[in-house]
Symmetry: C2
Subunit: 504 residues, 2 copies
């Protein structure tokens, strides 16, 4: 079935020569190449029902308006600009608003500590017994404590400080989001980025706050029309007001209890699974501990801990190859979900991580930015159906690529690689869980002609390439089907769409 937008597109191909005579063979061969590329592309195998066709017309009208305006005025094209500078404009875009309502399936590549918008996080700083200090590097640290914490840092009760410094809230809030003005290069940004983790950690690993935090994350995700989450987490130990730490298994148990409560209240939400993902900078001793912890967690929550990954800046930290001997000691059935190739280098340990990731039968690849430089790995990815979790905004704010039109995922879509869109650390750049990255992908990375079918393919891929078991996948597909139908109605009945239909 040929969709409306393809028809429009083919039509434009025929008329844009202003009716000048062209040889039939030329037109035929031209159509052939373009059609073959369309058939090879992401989402092309999906057919649209009449209701979907209607919704698609409306979606594509909005997309063409935006993309074609950008073609004429490239400085105004939002995906070509840094997200930190245009996030408000994106949230006002008609296409964004349509995407916000879309049921997106699962969220795969997101880190547990960077999921709640800064204004929500700020609320927790009003909980009693919160101490604050500023380190030598001018990074805020927090800890909840019954008594004043140790003397390594100049700890003050935040509630007392608020009375003295009326600007403290603004300063704290600023420290929770990456600041564009500070960007010099990738290493500087990564440093700032990791400092935010340090700042946030003290707040959200306090057990009572963590429970509210995770509840907030689930609400946030649910509002973004996400059906389930496969979160990456280092399984940090939670602490109590008296300074005691819960052990790792108990800490994770706290998380899954919150999730269970949430899914009970929201039967159309399928829950959260966890990819145990400690930091990539391990000593030999810590590596042994990590394997042990993974096995403990897997034993305690066998169906919820779906696998293992390392996190951190690949260019600076040990390569997968350098820890391959440890990876070989994981239980044989361990499912890996490796970050790999989150780099713009070529021929260095960080892009060679792609080779090791596929050798360890990674189920998905986090980022895969360097994949086009490794055609053999690309072939394996395609043949084995290894999904690539792209994170466009993350790659942009963390300085891999300035203009998202140059993001390598354009090529993944052209070749129909199994792509899923993720958001990495959305709260650190004040983005929505998935809608912001879906927007950048749909408008900035995919072809102008990529339409509703591509969006649907993204959502379907997030079920196909998930860590859900067969029964859960079946349930997910069923819920998705209903939600998608509702979405089609929402789109076609939206003010924007009804106005188009009235004027056309």
């Amino acid at each position: 079935m040929i969709s409306f937008s393809i028809l429009i597109f083919l039509f434009s191909l025929i008329v844009s020569n202003d009716g000048n005579p062209l040889s039939r063979s030329y037109i035929h061969n031209r159509m052939k190449i373009i059609e073959e590329e369309n058939k090879m592309a992401f989402g092309s195998s999906i057919g649209l029902s009449p209701a979907e066709e209607l919704a698609n017309q409306c979606l594509m009208k909005a997309k063409f308006d935006e993309v074609d305006h950008g073609y004429l005025h490239p400085t105004e094209f939002l995906p070509a600009q840094n997200y930190l500078e245009v996030s408000k404009k994106i949230k006002n875009s008609v296409v964004y608003q349509m995407i916000r309502k879309m049921p997106k399936g699962g969220l795969f590549h997101a880190h547990i500590s960077s999921m709640l918008p800064p204004e929500e996080l700020m609320k927790f700083t009003y909980e009693p017994n919160l101490y604050i200090c500023k380190t030598k590097n001018l990074v805020y640290k927090f800890v909840f404590s019954k008594n004043p914490p140790g003397k390594k840092c100049d700890w003050k009760l935040l509630s007392a400080m608020r009375k003295r410094d009326p600007k403290i809230d603004a300063k704290i809030k600023k420290s929770l989001v990456l600041q564009r003005s500070k960007f010099e290069d990738l290493n500087v940004v990564w440093n700032d980025f990791e400092e935010i983790f340090d700042t946030v950690r003290g707040i959200i690993t306090y057990r009572p706050v963590f429970e509210k935090y995770l509840r907030g994350v689930l609400e946030e995700v649910y509002k973004d029309n996400i059906m389930f989450v496969e979160i990456r987490s280092g399984a940090s130990q939670l602490y109590e007001l008296d300074g005691r730490y819960l052990d790792t298994v108990k800490s994770v148990e706290v998380a899954f209890k919150i999730v269970k409560k949430f899914t009970n209240e929201h039967p159309d939400f399928l829950g959260m699974k966890m990819i145990y993902s400690p930091h990539r900078n391990p000593s030999p001793e810590r590596l042994k501990e990590i394997v042990q912890t993974y096995m403990q967690l897997k034993a305690a929550f066998s169906d919820k801990i779906i696998g293992f990954d390392f996190v951190g800046q690949e260019d600076k930290l040990p390569s997968l190859y350098s820890v391959a001997h440890v990876l070989e000691t994981f239980p044989a059935d361990t499912q890996f979900f490796f970050h790999a190739g989150e780099t713009n280098w070529y021929g260095h340990p960080s892009d060679l991580n792609l080779v090791d990731a596929v050798l360890f039968n990674t189920k998905r690849i986090g980022h895969g930015f360097a994949l086009p430089k490794h055609p053999k790995v690309m072939e394996i990815v395609k043949n084995k159906g290894i999904a690539i979790e792209i994170n466009p905004i993350s790659n942009q704010v963390l300085k891999l690529v300035d203009d998202l039109r140059n993001h390598p995922a354009s090529e993944f879509f052209a070749n129909n690689l199994p792509v899923v869109v993720s958001s990495d650390d959305p709260s650190y750049w004040d983005a929505k869980s998935l809608s912001s990255d879906f927007y950048e992908t749909f408008v900035g990375i995919m072809s102008r002609s990529a339409d509703l079918r591509s969006l649907k393919q993204l959502a379907l891929n997030s079920i196909t390439y998930s860590g859900l078991d067969d029964q859960e996948k079946h349930a997910a597909k069923k819920i998705f089907k209903t939600k998608w139908k509702e979405y089609m109605d929402k789109l076609t009945q939206s003010k924007y769409c009804t106005e188009i239909n009235e004027t056309s």
Copy 2:
């Protein structure tokens, strides 16, 4: 034959795990993927003689020093920074100095008006009878004239103005090179860029100056160890002091006379051929004229006019498809060399030019920046052996890609597409004819492990994919062989290399 650098590389792969035990099958499979990718890559089919191995060791030592320093200090990595800011640093690089001496074969993608360094161009402004004016848009215009030119602009004799304004030379020189500070976006840069063309045109289309200019270009190219040039030229009509214009054929004849004199004096220089390349913004009437002019030129200089192309900013100007009916009226044996896909858009007329270029059996593609977004065209390019003329610095200064590590040619090299490196308009960013772009390619775009074989492949490709006839190709290969041997000696006997050998 496995080169020294590959051995070093394979060695590092084995030892970088710090001797930890790894399963044999893992090591075997890892080697297999890496070797397969190496075998697929650009330059991999070339074997190195013992003398070449020696030179390669030295070249790769210099390359590794520079690239590995960049891996640790990314802000200092030159190809990641705008050429206009680091051109001096590049010229001081050991790798650059080695590349400068390299025999590079042919230069393919370069426009006739932007080939001579600004300081050389300045010399012509000291010729008598040169008038200058500043347009409303603050662009300098020049004309040589016996009498004061028309009153449309406030023309002054430059020699007189020099006495009044001691800073005028600095101002003129500045107007001949793109200014980094003015960069806002692609359209602004393109505007500045086209203004330089306007400024230069009045100087270099004055027949007596043109003769010196072209002589200068050939000297410049020859010093950069280029053996022949296939220049893109709009065949501007030259003018005399009394305002008379030579007709197009006569104007081109002037050029080829200069070339003939130069080749007579330099028997190891094979000359210059021309791709007739008018501007891409033609009215229907102008289009007819263009076909006529092409046929006149081809009739007058059959072996020197090798084909046809259009120039100009693809995103803004008519697509190849929109003029396809005219392209179909060219004589059947016309060889096209189309600019295509010099864009970061996807699914727009500018990237679809790639489709039309291959449909018209283009012999080479100028830029092909958008090629990864068109897998079917990429397949045709590979199967038909259509060379891609990449122009890294041009793409960077004209705002397609900021960081050359993200240039799509990395992928072309990974897949051994027939790439040639060109320089587009080197004088407008004060680059050398080819060495500067070879440097960016070798250090910033190719894999860390790409070595002398890749450089040699670039030079050999420039013979294989040239517009030379079989006899000329034979001669070119012979001369290249001698020059390459001399180059190996120069490299191994250089101070840098002898010092390495002494310390190792």
